[in-house]
């Protein structure tokens, strides 16, 4: 017997587990809670807004060449979902692989592909069961989300012994990536006696607009004296954090410390009336338009600096 390696090789552990789960083949078919039934079909067509009459009218279904009412093919997976308190069976190949990858530190999961093939339409009253086998485990791969493994399973739905539908299902099981750019490197603002109120505000979680108590004028960026009346004892109001894009640029080049290219810089017109610059995040640069409603997204860099950013309102 070989001596255990000083450090277990994670890749070999995962591939070894995958081979064992694959070799076990398809797990025992797991029956759905309920037979294919009309109330759930009705809920589904209502929620999805699907007006196809063959799911709700026996007459329309017959006219379309079916023997009677049929269930939407895309509902096939619904019939065998685990439900609110569902637990995977102990021989479920996907559950087994998820456990192995969790242990190895690949704790996050996202579905990437779903390919369903329908051999025939199923009808209310049929009782479906689903069997699953592990098809493939591929990795480790560097992805936009982080390092991860693609796990592919194949499901077969049976009505009695007859396979009625199949599905290839692929998930990415990954370690969430560290932020792409080192935000500690961001260019830091020069904070003056006039602008301190603004940066103290963002650090405290609010967006402050300088306000003239003498004449009521709001102004940004903050300065020593009111441009309208000359008063030099300003205070501030807290903005709602809502606005619209007044103008913007998409910055492609050159590199900016602490930023991943390209990024969007927007001049945002606040609903209070002043305009403010900031990065527009969580948006495809191609989708930015003048007038786009945005809301404040404060980005904490460290204890001293919180940057005001914007994202599409929602």
């Amino acid at each position: 017997m070989n001596a255990p390696a000083p450090y277990p090789n994670v890749t070999e552990t995962i591939l070894g587990a995958a081979e064992r789960v694959k070799a076990a083949g398809e797990c025992a078919p797991r029956p759905g809670r309920d037979p294919v039934n009309q109330p759930m079909i009705n809920n589904w067509v209502e929620a999805l807004g699907d007006d196809n009459p063959i799911y709700v009218s026996a007459e329309a279904a017959k006219e379309a060449g079916h023997d009677g009412l049929v269930a939407p093919p895309a509902m096939v997976q619904v019939w065998t979902m685990g439900g609110l308190h569902g637990q995977r069976t102990s021989d479920d190949p996907l559950g087994l692989m998820m456990g192995v990858l969790d242990e190895a530190g690949f704790t996050s999961v996202v579905a990437t592909n779903c390919e369903q093939t329908y051999h025939r339409y199923v009808r209310p009253g049929e009782e479906l069961a689903v069997g699953t086998r592990l098809d493939d485990v591929v990795g480790p791969k560097q992805t936009a989300l982080g390092e991860g493994w693609f796990v592919t399973t194949r499901n077969t739905w049976y009505s009695g012994d007859e396979p009625v539908a199949e599905m290839l299902f692929r998930v990415l099981k990954f370690k969430p990536a560290a932020p792409k750019a080192d935000t500690a490197e961001v260019l830091r603002p020069t904070i003056s006696v006039d602008t301190a109120l603004f940066w103290e505000g963002t650090a405290a979680g609010e967006l402050r607009i300088q306000h003239c108590p003498a004449c009521g004028t709001l102004r940004h960026p903050p300065g020593p004296m009111c441009v309208a009346c000359g008063d030099d004892k300003p205070d501030y109001v807290v903005a709602s954090g809502r606005g619209t894009v007044f103008s913007y640029v998409v910055h492609h080049h050159p590199k900016v410390p602490g930023k991943t290219l390209p990024f969007v810089v927007a001049l945002v017109e606040l609903e209070e009336g002043v305009r403010m610059l900031g990065e527009l995040i969580a948006v495809d640069p191609e989708r930015v338009t003048v007038g786009l409603p945005v809301s404040l997204a404060l980005t904490k860099i460290d204890e001293e600096l919180t940057l005001p950013c914007w994202r599409p309102a929602g």
Partner: protein
């Protein structure tokens, strides 16, 4: 006879929170990220988001809305892109990419505010469009 290149009419889906929650529950998907905004944010999402069973359903609906009730759907393959969060709007577009006798292959894209959310193909026959 439907030819390769035939465009399907666009379909807009407003992914309101009610839509996200009601479709998740109608597909018996009780994962908290599809109905509990606080949990979704705690897990790093911006908001609750549409589940994959709904995407398959929407792609099917998009094609059968056009293909008519006599159509038979044989296969739906989808690949997921960026998430579709609550308050997003999905715009579905599609075109016929293959014709094999009575059976068509339709390519479908559902695009949201952040980019392509779902891209897929549907094999369908008996199209009366």
């Amino acid at each position: 006879m439907t030819a390769v290149g035939t465009q399907l009419p666009e379909l807009l889906i407003e992914a309101t929170p009610t839509f996200v929650v009601s479709t998740a529950l109608a597909t018996r998907d009780f994962q908290d990220v599809h109905h509990d905004r606080d949990k979704a944010i705690a897990r790093g999402s911006r908001d609750i988001f549409v589940n994959i069973l709904t995407d398959t359903g929407l792609v099917q609906r998009y094609v059968t809305d056009w293909a008519g009730p006599a159509a038979r759907v044989h296969a739906i393959s989808i690949r997921l892109g960026v998430p579709c969060y609550a308050y997003d709007t999905l715009v579905f577009s599609g075109s016929v990419t293959e014709v094999d006798g009575d059976e068509l292959t339709v390519q479908v894209t559902g695009r949201g505010q952040l980019g392509d959310h779902v891209v897929g193909t549907v094999r369908v026959s008996g199209v009366t469009a």
